[in-house]
């Protein structure tokens, strides 16, 4: 069992960096294949995201005349690197605990905002009106879903902290240990409002239908990504693959980190991610239509925010 790995190896190879990228691309391939089968089509081969990245590496990146070139080219790099680092911060219950040098849940929360900010900056640095629309819509969505996320994380941290005798504990290791001793929060009725709020948050963060408004193909011609081509676009695809691993891994760590120790823990984590991807992402993506930006904003300000405030109140009082 690996207690903690030397931080750069964790960030670059395993479990961040290359391992998370391979896992993310495999999840995306499964997602596209299952989505096709659910729509009675055959669908692409499972390795299709890898082929897409190889092809994008062979094309050339064209920078628009009106764009700010350094920001235009630097934004996807920052996004991909931040998500590779965040994948090293997500613990694999029973197999990998991130070293304290890398950071705890607060650092992970901040790193989770970086992809959205990078998309916004990319949109505004593109110098095109569609990019500007994508920038404003991404900002609106971020305002909508960040509130419930922070409150859900606070509720989980408070429950762990109070259960261990303190007030609040932002260490993911403590959260996992508490759940392994006292039962997962998935089955704890006190945490069910927080669970519901998280279930509303992650489709918006991952950018899947019904909340993939900023990158809507038919409405704003791909929004912030409109002017990107070649390796820069490939870095954005890498960022979104890594983000899926990070967000789903965070959901597993916050609500259901029960796993055997050792390599079996790694396999159980991969199985959980696959199940979450197929049921939580693909089925949702295939069965819904896209919401309008004002509908999505109003939705998030109503139910998920209310549920997350309620969960913090309940955890504080119980």
């Amino acid at each position: 069992m690996l207690e903690s790995l030397y931080a750069p190896i964790a960030a670059l190879l395993f479990p961040g960096g290359l391992f998370a990228l391979a896992l993310g691309l495999a999840l995306k391939g499964l997602d596209r294949r299952l989505a096709a089968r659910l729509q009675a089509r055959v669908g692409p081969p499972l390795a299709q995201p890898v082929y897409d990245l190889v092809k994008l590496a062979k094309k050339r990146t064209m920078v628009p005349d009106l764009a700010n070139e350094s920001v235009f080219l630097g934004a996807p790099l920052i996004g991909a690197v931040s998500m590779a680092l965040a994948a090293a911060l997500v613990p694999i219950p029973g197999f990998y605990t991130p070293s304290p040098v890398l950071g705890d849940l607060l650092v992970l929360l901040y790193l989770l905002t970086v992809p959205a900010i990078v998309l916004m900056i990319a949109g505004s640095a593109s110098g095109s009106p569609f990019g500007a629309i994508g920038f404003s819509r991404e900002m609106t969505m971020m305002l909508a879903y960040e509130g419930p996320l922070v409150l859900v994380v606070a509720a989980v941290a408070m429950r762990t902290g109070m259960g261990m005798g303190g007030v609040i504990s932002f260490s993911l290791t403590d959260i996992i240990t508490y759940q392994q001793n006292h039962g997962a929060f998935l089955f704890d009725p006190v945490m069910w409002p927080a669970l519901l709020a998280f279930l509303a948050f992650y489709p918006a963060n991952l950018g899947i239908i019904p909340f993939d408004i900023p990158e809507a193909e038919t409405e704003v011609l791909e929004g912030p990504l409109l002017e990107y081509s070649g390796p820069a676009l490939g870095l954005f695809k890498i960022m979104s693959a890594l983000k899926a691993v990070v967000v789903l891994g965070l959901g597993v760590a916050l609500f259901f980190p029960i796993a055997p120790a050792g390599v079996a823990g790694l396999l159980v984590q991969i199985a959980k991610l696959v199940v979450l991807m197929l049921i939580g992402v693909t089925v949702v993506r295939v069965s819904c239509g896209r919401m309008r930006i004002d509908q999505a904003f109003r939705f998030f300000l109503k139910w998920p925010l209310a549920l997350s405030i309620l969960s913090v109140a309940i955890v504080a009082l119980v």
């Binding site: 055959v42 692409p44 299709q48 092809k55 062979k58 002017e227 081509s229 676009l233």
Partner: protein, 150 residues
């Protein structure tokens, strides 16, 4: 060592050729050919995603360009600008008989067909409109040409 590099580059070329992204340009078409192109992606019966294709919303993301319609005078400048946005290497497919010769609008005063006097076309798919299977056949030929250009 050189054979390793050669096999590696051949493998990456094959992998890259499994992911052609398609962009449609409607150069004044009656929309018949565009509907048939849309059915190749949206209808489960003629799934073009099996070949790795994906209809993208931005010309910057495209590898294969499908052009429909006789190049009407009104959209000629816009089409030439959008066509220049597609990065190399790219392959152009003229769908329907309108881009190849003007089709039913031949010798009209408002059309600038044939389109290959303004931009380079690689594959023609005649038909008015061509069947979705014929469009997929044209896309398959375009993928073969694109593989050589990668």
């Amino acid at each position: 060592m050189t054979t390793l590099i050669q096999t590696l580059s051949k493998q990456t070329r094959n992998m890259a050729a499994s992911s052609p992204w398609i962009y449609r340009i409607n150069a004044g078409s009656c929309n018949g050919c565009d509907v048939e192109c849309a059915t190749t992606a949206l209808i489960p019966r003629y799934d073009v995603e099996r070949l790795g294709c994906q209809y993208c919303g931005s010309p910057r993301h495209a590898d294969i360009v499908l052009i429909t319609g006789p190049l009407t005078a009104r959209v000629k400048d816009a089409v030439m600008r959008v066509y220049a946005e597609v990065p190399e290497p790219k392959v152009t497919v003229a769908v329907g008989v309108c881009p190849i010769s003007g089709g039913i609008f031949r010798d009209g005063y408002a059309v600038h067909a044939p389109i290959d006097q303004h931009l380079q076309v690689d594959v023609n798919v005649p038909g008015c409109p061509p069947r979705p299977q014929a469009i997929i056949e044209g896309i398959a030929q375009a993928i073969a040409i694109w593989r050589e250009r990668l």
